[in-house]
Amino acid sequence: MQTLNQALFIFFAVLAVASAILMVTRRNIVHGAVFLITTLLSTAGIFLLLEAEFLFIVQVILYVGGIMVLFVFVIMLVNLDVSMRQVQFNRQWFVAGALALVLAAQFLFAIWAGRGALRLPAMADEISPKNTEAVADALFSHYMLPFEIASILLLVAMIGAVVMAKRRVG
């Protein structure tokens, strides 16, 4: 069981990172979107390893089945063949990449300094509700206000996006 768990973690992690790299470097944007989907799906697998069952399904339904569908639609809407032939990276790419790596090095140092200090608890003592119900409990008690505000966020997004896109129709 333990080795299976580790094997799965390594599989998902390698898949996620590899397809993330491919996503950023591919010239063909549809392929890029497919690689991002792969990354998101392997992240969902990681969530499952962390026993976040509900978030696993939210990730698949919302991120992969919803948001990425939006991306794919837009990619099909804009003409792709022109942008395929253009230069893919901007002029400052070297500086930008270097800066990003510096940032990464800082984080790496921070995590490295604290390595081993953080451990996952092996077992909990009390018998617990199921994950989905635990999330629902938290969502509808402690996080009720953010939950209502989320609906305002969605309302604003809906109106904003429709106004933005509608201009082309009208």
Binding site: F9, M23, I29, T43, L55, Q59, I67, V74, W93
Partner: protein
């Protein structure tokens, strides 16, 4: 057992790739996709700490982040479509109408 560090390293890798994507690519759609990658890396962190403390707060936050990502993608892509309609391009460095 997989230590927490491993998850953090994974998250860091995804985050860095996302940052590099946002900073270096010219195509705005790919920049938006890289932002999704960054948000995703954050979600991994939330999830592993949620698991570590044995609470679900991190998971609830992750749901809100995904909601936020949906809103961001919707509006961002709406802007891209509107811009594409006007200028026939999706390249970030050609979006220079406001340059003086």
């Amino acid at each position: 057992m997989i230590p927490v560090d491993y998850y953090l390293f994974l998250s860091l890798a995804l985050f860095t790739i996302g940052v590099i994507g946002v900073l270096t690519r010219r195509n705005v759609i790919i920049m938006l996709m890289s932002i999704e990658l960054i948000l995703n890396a954050v979600n991994i962190n939330l999830m592993v700490f949620s698991r570590m403390w044995g609470t679900v707060d991190g998971q609830v936050f992750a749901i809100f982040i995904i909601t936020d990502a949906a809103a961001e993608a919707a509006v961002g892509l709406g802007i891209i479509l509107a811009f594409f309609h006007n200028r026939e391009t999706v390249l970030a460095d050609e979006m220079d109408i406001m340059k003086w």
